[in-house]
Assembly symmetry: none
Homo-oligomer: 214 residues x 4
Amino acid sequence: MNSTDKKFRRRAEARPDEMLDAALAVFAEKGFAATKVDEVARRAGVSKGTVYLYFPSKEALMEGIVRRAVAPIAERALPDMAQFEGDPRLPIAMLVHTLQNLLSDPNNLAVPRLILREIMNFPAIAELYRREVLGKVIPALTALVARGVASGQLRKVDPEMTVRSIVGPIVAHVALSEVFGVRPEEGLALDRLVENHLDILFHGISPAGGEETP
Amino acid sequence: MNSTDKKFRRRAEARPDEMLDAALAVFAEKGFAATKVDEVARRAGVSKGTVYLYFPSKEALMEGIVRRAVAPIAERALPDMAQFEGDPRLPIAMLVHTLQNLLSDPNNLAVPRLILREIMNFPAIAELYRREVLGKVIPALTALVARGVASGQLRKVDPEMTVRSIVGPIVAHVALSEVFGVRPEEGLALDRLVENHLDILFHGISPAGGEETP
Amino acid sequence: MNSTDKKFRRRAEARPDEMLDAALAVFAEKGFAATKVDEVARRAGVSKGTVYLYFPSKEALMEGIVRRAVAPIAERALPDMAQFEGDPRLPIAMLVHTLQNLLSDPNNLAVPRLILREIMNFPAIAELYRREVLGKVIPALTALVARGVASGQLRKVDPEMTVRSIVGPIVAHVALSEVFGVRPEEGLALDRLVENHLDILFHGISPAGGEETP
Amino acid sequence: MNSTDKKFRRRAEARPDEMLDAALAVFAEKGFAATKVDEVARRAGVSKGTVYLYFPSKEALMEGIVRRAVAPIAERALPDMAQFEGDPRLPIAMLVHTLQNLLSDPNNLAVPRLILREIMNFPAIAELYRREVLGKVIPALTALVARGVASGQLRKVDPEMTVRSIVGPIVAHVALSEVFGVRPEEGLALDRLVENHLDILFHGISPAGGEETP
DNA sequence: CATGAATGAGAGTTCATTCAT
DNA sequence: CATGAATGAACTCTCATTCAT
C-alpha cells in the first residue's frame, strides 16, 4: 500500500499515454517542428529525460500518436461493410455518417489535423496510414460499389473512382474549414454538407428512377 | 556568347525568379524545414549571401514561391464564369477540365504539393491563398450553382455545399495520390477520375430526365 | 577527491559565477564584440550550450558581470558617509582611499576597465551603473560637501560641481594609465596621485587658515 | 569648363572628407561595430565600392576621422604654453577655457565621444592620440607646473600628478554627462564647472595668501 | 524509474570586402 | 573613377539527445 498505491501505479502504467496526450496537445498547437521535447515533458508533468525513457525520439512520439489513433479504426466498422449484401447505398450512408460523427467532435479532429499538417514530413506515418486505414477502407468501398454496379443497384460507374466521389466532398469541406478557415456562417455545418452531399451522390449513382436516399 | 554565360547572368533581372525556381525544387524535395538555404543557393548557382540579397529570409522564399504561383490564377478564367448566363453545367465542366489540365503537368503540381505540405506552418500563406484564390473561386462557383437552381436548370441543391461536391472528388483524388501514394495502376489517371466524377455529379444535380453531360 | 573533480563540479551552484569569471577574462582581453561565446565556454570548462543554459545571450553575460560587481558597492561605505556629522574632509579622504585600494588591485580593475570599454554600447549597463552606483555616491558626496559649506568647515564651493573635483583627478589618472598607457615610471603610483590630489583638494576647499589634511 | 566644373572638381577632391563626415555621423550614432559600410556610403552619397576606393577598410575610416581631428590640436595652442614665462596659472586657465570652448560645441564633442567609445578596441588610435595629443600636452603642462613650483608661484605640488588635478574634473564632468547622462538640470553647465574647478584648483595650488583666480 | 545538467552539431543570417563592368 | 552585385567566412543561438546521479 506504500509504493504500490493508486497514484504510483496509475502513473507507472499510464505514463506513455499521458505523454502521447501531452505531445498531441503541443503538436496540435505549434506543429511538430516548433515543439520542444521540453514542453511535451512539462505538459505531461515529467522531466525531459523521462520522455526518452518511453519514446526513443521526438519522432517516435508522433508515430505513437498516430498509431494509437489509427488502431481502432480498422477493427471497427470495416468488417460489416465488407460483408454487407443489400443495397450498397446503406453502408455508404453509414460510412459517411460515421465520418460525420467522428469529425463533429473537435477532440477527434485533432489527430487528423495533425496528420494533415505533418504527414508529408513523415513518410512512415503516411505509409502506416495508407496501410492500416486507406488500404482497408478503400478496397472495401470499391468492392461495395462494384457489387452495386454488378447487381444493377447502381449506375455503371467506375468503382475505384467513385470512392473519390464518396469521400471527396467531406474531405474538401473539412480541409476548407480547418486549413483555410473557409466555413459557413453556422460553423462547420457538417450535417448540412452531408445531407447535400448524399443527396447529390445518390442521385448521381442511382439508376434513373432509382430509390430515394435511405 | 550564349545567354547563360557568366557575364550575362550577372545582374540579370531574372535572378529572383531563378532563386524561386531553385527554392521550389529543394522545398518540394525535402520540405521547408529540412531545406538549407545553402542548398537553395547552390541549386541556383549563387552563394548563400546572394539569396539574402534578394529575399530577406528563408520564409520569404516560401512566400515568393506561392505569390508568384497564385498571381495569375485570379486573373485568368474567373471573370468568364461569373458572368456566364447559359447552362451552369458548362462552366462547371470547364473549371473541372481546367483543373485537370493544371494538375496533369507535374510542373504545375509542385506548388500545390508544397502548399499542401507546408501551409499549416505558414498562416500568412494560407491567408494569401484564401483571399486570392478561394475567396474568388468559391463565391463565383456558389453563385453559378445558385443561378442554376433558380433557373431550374439544376435540382434544388444547397449552392454553398455543392461547391464541395464539385471540387472534392478531385482534391481527394490528388491528395490520395500525392500524399499517400494511393493511385490507380495507370498513374494519376485524372481523365478517368474526371469523367466518372462529372458523370456522377451531373446526374446528381440535374433535374430528373435532365440533359446529358455536356 | 578534491573539490574540483568532475562529479563535484556538476550541478555546482557556482556554475554561473564560473562563467562570469571566464567571460570577464575573455571580454577584458579581446573586448565584447571580438569575443566568441565558444571561447567563454572553453575558458569556463563547459560547452557552448551550457553557457546558454545559464545566460540567455552573450549580452546577458556582460550584464551579469557588471551586476555582480556593482551589487556590493552600494551597500558598503555609503551609509556611513551619508550620516557622518563631523569634518566632511574625513569621509572624503576615506572615499578617495577606498577608491585607491579598489583600483590598486588589478583584479578589481578588470571590471571598471571592461565597463569603460563597452559601456557606450550597452545603454542598459550605463543605466544600471548610473542608478546603482552614481545615483547613490554622487548625491551622498554632494550632500556632504553642502553640509561642510553650510557649517563653514568648507569654503563656499558649488557642492554639485565639487564632486567632480573630488573624483576627477583619480578618474583621469586611471584613464590615462589604462586607456592610453600614460603612467609614471613607477607604474600606476596611485598613492602618489592620491597624496597630491588630497593635498591640492583640501587646500582648495578649506577656508583660509583652515585645518590640515586629516 | 566641362569636366572640370565646380561640382565635379569639388566632388573629386572633397570626397575623402565627405566620407569621413558621413562615417563620423554614423559611428557617433550607432557605434563602430554596429555601423555598416553601406550606410556610410549612402550617407556620403556614394556607393559602397567608392568608399573602398578611398579607404582600404572600415577601420581606416575610423583612423581617418581621428587623424583629421587630432592634427590641428598639436599645432595650435601648445607652443604658447611651453614658452610662457609669467604666472603659470594664466596658461592653465587658458587651457581650461580652451577645453571649455571646445567641449561646448556639440560638433566638437562628436569626435571625443567617439574616441571615448571605441578607443579600447583601436590600439592604433590610442597610440596616435597618446603620441600626438597627450605626449605634447602633458609634458608641457607638467613643465609649466614645475616652473611655477620652482619659482614659488605655486605651492610645492607634484607637477606630474597635478596635471591630473587640472584636467580630471573636466574629464569627469564630461564623462558623467556623456556616458552616464548625469548632468545638472541646466544641461552641461560647463561654465559652472569650470568656475568652481578653477576656484578650487587655484586655491589648492597657490601659496597661502596667494593671488586670486585670474 | 526518474531527473535535469550538459552536450555540440547545425542553421539562419550578417556584412566587410572584392571585382567585373 | 564609380558602381553594386556577389561572395563566404563567421557568429549567435537552438534543441534533440545523453548519462551521471
